[in-house]
Every structure is written in structure tokens, then in C-alpha cells.
């Protein structure tokens, strides 16, 4: 009895501590964004929030970043997911090399990646397009460590070999087996990986800034140089936006509760 009470107290304490750790900075941001700014303000107000829509380049930058995130998501769905499934099913010997390959972006600092990749982007911007949407290419590489982990964890959690063989014996082609059976089975893993990737793309600053592309974070930082309150309000808004996106993942995980399990 006493032990349960102790455990419960500890649990509450830890949850409260973690909650504070996460919420205090967000509150501080909100607090800062509503403080009087300049001589014309007299008290707390939401001016920094109201001017968000009128910021130059911001709407376009948000749009570009979202399009990049969308392209990254498509690449995950149509390239990375089938590749990881294929390797797991048919080429198990390539699992370790693929895992290592996918971890590389984590080991190399973003600044080093930029140095390596900038000639390619210089060429693209001269010969193909200057659109920041092309950043989706380098982003899809940056997200690999997180997406791969999430996919491989959910693939390990189910016996995909048996599921694949069951689908094939019932008449499914390889395409239908992957798209109709394996992908829905690891849906949660795919969604987790995709949302982490979106959060990463929307929050990426170093690469786009050095390559001189005006993405969401780059524009926020530019705004911050002229008006701190607005920059903080935009940042907070973007954090809340991504947070809502991430909260959508567990919502899709929801399954019916176990109704009954009989003996046979």
C-alpha cells in the first residue's frame, strides 16, 4: 500500500518536472512576445502575434517549407519505406550496411554536409531552378536516421516474413503485398517517421541559411534581427503547429479495446 503510494508520488513528481521543463520555456516565449515593445506600447498586448501575417516573405517561406516537407514525406512513402521493407524481406544481409548508411547523417555535422553538398546546389540553382523546394533532396537524407529507426523498429515488432508469405500464398503480387499488407501493418511506424521528418524539415536552419535559401526558419531568424517579439511569436506558433502535427500520431494509433478473448 505504502509502496504504491510512494511510486505514485514519484511518478507524479517526475511528470510534473518534465511538464515544467517543457512548458516553462514555451510560457517564457509567450510572455516575451506579449511584452510592450518600443515606445508606442504601454502594456501587454498581442501586437507581435497580429503582425505575423503581414511579415514579408513569411507566408511564402512557410509554403516552401511545407512543400519541401510534403516532398520529403512522399520520398519516405514511395522510396524509403519500400526499400527498408524490401531489404528486410529479401536482402537481410544488407540490413547492417543500410542501417549504417542511414546513420551517417547523424554522425556528420550539418555544417560539414553543407560544405560537401553546396557545389551540387550551386549547379542546381544555375542550371535547374533556384527554388528552395530543391532542399527536399538534402532533407530526405538528413531525416534518414530517424525515419529508418522508426521503420525498422516497427518492422521488427511484427513477423513480416510470415505476413508476406501469407499474402503471397493468397495470390498477392509483391506490390500488393507491400502496399496492402506490410505498409498498413507498420502504419504507426511510417507515421511516426514521417512526422519526425516533417518536424525536422520545418525546423531546419543551418543548411538552408548557408545555402542562402529563404525557408521558414531562415525568415524567422531574419525577422528576429529587426523585431524580437515577432520572431518569438512566429517561433512559438511554429512549435505549436509541429506539436499539433505530432499529437496527431498517437491519435491515429488508437485501436479498439480488446472486447473478449474466449478459450478457443
Amino acid at each position: 500500500m505504502k509502496r504504491t503510494w510512494k511510486v505514485q508520488t514519484w511518478r507524479r513528481f517526475i511528470i510534473a518536472f518534465v511538464g515544467l521543463y517543457l512548458i516553462v520555456p514555451l510560457y517564457a516565449m509567450f510572455d516575451f512576445s506579449t511584452k510592450p515593445y518600443g515606445f508606442e506600447d504601454t502594456g501587454r498586448n498581442l501586437r507581435a502575434w497580429r503582425v505575423i501575417p503581414s511579415q514579408p516573405d513569411l507566408a511564402l517561406a512557410v509554403f516552401r517549407s511545407l512543400v519541401s516537407a510534403g516532398i520529403v514525406m512522399l520520398l519516405i512513402l514511395f522510396l524509403i519505406v519500400p526499400t527498408v521493407i524490401w531489404v528486410q524481406l529479401k536482402l537481410p544481409k544488407l540490413r547492417r550496411p543500410l542501417e549504417l548508411l542511414c546513420l551517417i547523417p547523424l554522425a556528420i555535422p550539418a555544417i560539414v554536409i553543407v560544405v560537401g553538398i553546396s557545389p551540387i546546389y550551386r549547379w542546381i540553382s544555375i542550371n535547374v531552378t533556384e527554388s528552395p523546394i530543391t532542399l527536399a533532396g538534402v532533407y530526405s537524407m538528413l531525416i534518414l536516421p530517424y525515419t529508418y529507426r522508426s521503420l525498422s523498429a516497427s518492422l521488427d515488432a511484427v513477423d513480416i516474413h510470415t505476413l508476406a508469405e501469407a499474402a503471397q500464398s493468397l495470390g498477392a503480387s509483391t506490390f500488393r503485398m507491400i502496399s496492402g499488407i506490410i505498409m498498413p501493418t507498420i502504419r504507426t511506424g511510417i507515421m511516426n517517421g514521417s512526422f519526425i521528418a516533417i518536424a525536422l524539415v520545418l525546423g531546419e536552419y543551418t543548411i538552408s541559411n548557408i545555402l542562402n535559401y529563404k525557408t521558414f526558419q531562415v525568415v524567422i531568424s531574419q525577422i528576429g534581427r529587426s523585431n524580437g517579439s515577432v520572431a518569438v511569436s512566429v517561433s512559438l506558433a511554429s512549435i505549436l503547429f509541429v506539436l499539433i502535427l505530432l499529437l496527431l500520431v498517437p491519435a491515429t494509433k488508437h485501436r479498439k479495446e480488446i472486447l473478449d478473448v474466449d478459450n478457443i
Binding site: 505476413l163 508469405e165 495470390g171 498477392a172 502504419r187 485501436r255 478473448v261 474466449d262
Partner: protein, 349 residues
């Protein structure tokens, strides 16, 4: 049951490195027949079944089903219904959707109402029509395997392949389900290949049981024949219990424990050999002048198993109907002889 050959496995060979999983396996299955492949792990039984399903490529051999060579046909074109050892229901689909899955893949997609009728029929057949809308995680292991069976049968498979479908289940469910598999198989007349390492399972439901060893078939016969008339020492020892008792073979007969019995074909022909005697073929009677004493007795319900210590220091196991062992407790003096049943005799080397 028709007697024509429906499935033919001819000279199948498959090597995994140096391991011979299949080494010239030949097997014929008649239409509507249930054949069980039995053998220790690594004997190649699952490889044979997977080869027939198209899930395992072969190094050599030919597979004929219903007169057509399917050796190089893809698994998804073979029309085999398979139930796996591991739970294999698609977790994101309900029981009904699982059963209907094979029908949705047909070239001429079965109409939705026909599909529903077919899945209802099969769910009824496996006794789970009330669970049609349950997801696999809401079903017990036994229920999941029943749905898997219904799913495999939904496509009206040419051959039903069962790859140890009961081994993950507990003993009671196992017995119930194996009987149900047999009932359904007889009802539908589906040609079935059943792979198991559990001899009781194989002997109780199969029309014929094939015992495999090192990638080859040692013997294939009706369960009673396999048990009573094994053609190799491996089959005799693998199927059921045996007492290895040495004796002298002469002219197709062997003298064991003072009794002379016939030897089975395949036994050694002369010299000293080891007779493989079934416990129930040992006759035990209470006798003060006997050649043995009861060492211990274990009650098995309808029968009783006695461990008997012979005067020469050897232990043998005998199995008798419980009604005949009254007074034969531990330490009781007994006379042991053999019933007049032919035995298999292996070389003593």
C-alpha cells in the same frame, strides 16, 4: 476419396550450404487425401511444404499439381491455401476481411456480396461467425488459427498446406482444433499436406503419414501400418515407444525374452540383433517364479505403464490396460514375455 494422384513431388532437392534439406524426395498425394509429413526438426518436412507452396526455390526436382507442372510458378499463382505455424492474420484487418482477402485479389474480383457470403460460410465452418468483426489482437491463438484456416480455404485452394499450425497452441486447444481440421478437410474434400513434428497429431488425423529423415522419405503408410509395421529402425524408434531388446535372429524369427516372434521385412536376417518391441506388445503376468520384478508403475488412465526390471539387470517398459495391472505394484514378481506380434530388428552395431 479418389485414388488418382493429384499432387506429385518428384526427386526434390534443396541444399542450404552443405545442409541437405531435401535430398531426392518423392511423394504422391491422391485427390482429397490428407497426408502428414512427420519427422524431427531439420528433416526437411517444412522445406518440402514450402517448395510446394512456391515459397522455397528448389535446386532440383519437379512439382506436379492436378496434372500441371508448377515447379517454376510463382507462389501467388499456385492457388495453395496455407496455414502457418506463426500467427499470420493481417493485424489491420478484421477476421472477415482476412478471410475475404484472397477473394479480393482474384483476377475477376469476386463481387462484394458473393465475397461476404463466402466469408460468412467459412466463418461458420470454423465456428467463429460471431467473431467476424474482431481484429486479430482480440482473438485467442486458437481462434486466430481457425480464421487462418478459413482464410486459406476461402480461395478454394488446390491443396491445403498446414505448416505445424497447432504447435503454438496449448494441449487442449490443440487436440480440439486438429479434430476440427480433419472434420473440415473431410467435409470439403480438400487435398491436404500437413507438416508436424508431433506424431500423435499426425497419426490421429492423417490418411497416410510420411516419416522424413535427412531430406528423404523413410516410409509412407497408413498410421496403423506405420506403427505396427515400420520398415526401418528410424521409423520404428521415431514413431511410438520401443524397448530395444537383443536377441538372436534366425529364419525370419527372433527369440526375445523367451518368446519367438516373426521379424518385420527390412530387419536383419541372421545373427544377434536388437528387437524394437512396443510396450503394449510385452505381456506381463504376476508370477513368483517369473523372470522380472516391477520397478515402478505409472497410471495413464485407461492404461498403465510399468517399468520392469529383468533378472539380467535390464529395464523394459510395458503398457497394459489398467484393469490388468491390479496387484502389480512396485516390487511385485512378474513373468515377462512377448505377444505374438512381428517386431523390427535392427543390427546391434
Amino acid at each position: 476419396m479418389k485414388s488418382s494422384t493429384y499432387v506429385q513431388l518428384m526427386d526434390l532437392a534443396k541444399f542450404f550450404g552443405k545442409v541437405k534439406a531435401l535430398d531426392g524426395l518423392n511423394l504422391e498425394i491422391a485427390e482429397g487425401e490428407l497426408v502428414a509429413l512427420l519427422g524431427p526438426s531439420g528433416c526437411g518436412k517444412t522445406t518440402a511444404l514450402r517448395a510446394l507452396a512456391g515459397l522455397q526455390e528448389l535446386d532440383r526436382g519437379q512439382l506436379i499439381v492436378d496434372g500441371k507442372d508448377v515447379t517454376f510458378q510463382n507462389a501467388n499463382k499456385r492457388g495453395m491455401g496455407m496455414v502457418f505455424q506463426a500467427y499470420s492474420l493481417f493485424p489491420h484487418m478484421t477476421a472477415r476481411e482476412n478471410v475475404e482477402y484472397g477473394l479480393t485479389l482474384r483476377a475477376h474480383k469476386t463481387a462484394s456480396d458473393k465475397r461476404k457470403a463466402r466469408s460468412s460460410e467459412l466463418l461458420e465452418l470454423v465456428g467463429l461467425s460471431t467473431h467476424a468483426n474482431h481484429y486479430p489482437h482480440q482473438l485467442s491463438g486458437g481462434q486466430q488459427q481457425r480464421i487462418a484456416l478459413a482464410r486459406a480455404l476461402a480461395i478454394s485452394p488446390k491443396v491445403l498446406l498446414l505448416d505445424e499450425p497447432l504447435s503454438a497452441l496449448d494441449a487442449k486447444v490443440r487436440t480440439q482444433l486438429r479434430e476440427e481440421i480433419r472434420r473440415i478437410q473431410l467435409e470439403l474434400g480438400t487435398t491436404t499436406l500437413f507438416v508436424t513434428h508431433d506424431q500423435e497429431e499426425a497419426l490421429s488425423i492423417a490418411d497416410r503419414v510420411g516419416v522424413m529423415r535427412n531430406g528423404q522419405l523413410e516410409q509412407i503408410a497408413a498410421p496403423s501400418e506405420l506403427y505396427d509395421r515400420p520398415v526401418t529402425a528410424f521409423v520404428a524408434e521415431f514413431v511410438g515407444l520401443t524397448n530395444p531388446i537383443s536377441g538372436t535372429v534366425n529364419g525370419g524369427k527372433i527369440e526375445v525374452l523367451g518368446s519367438v516372434v516373426h521379424t518385420l521385412p527390412g530387419s536383419i536376417e541372421t545373427g544377434i540383433g536388437i528387437a524394437l518391441v512396443r510396450p503394449e506388445n510385452i505381456n506381463v503376468v504376476s508370477s513368483n517364479a517369473g523372470n522380472a520384478t516391477v520397478f515402478s508403475a505409472s497410471f495413464l488412465g485407461a492404461s498403465c505403464r510399468l517399468s520392469i526390471l529383468l533378472n539380467d539387470g535390464m529395464h523394459v517398459t510395458a503398457q497394459l490396460p489398467s484393469s490388468e495391472v491390479v496387484g502389480l505394484g512396485a516390487g511385485a514378481p512378474v513373468a515377462v514375455s512377448l505377444l505374438d506380434m512381428p517386431v523390427f530388428v535392427k543390427s546391434n552395431k
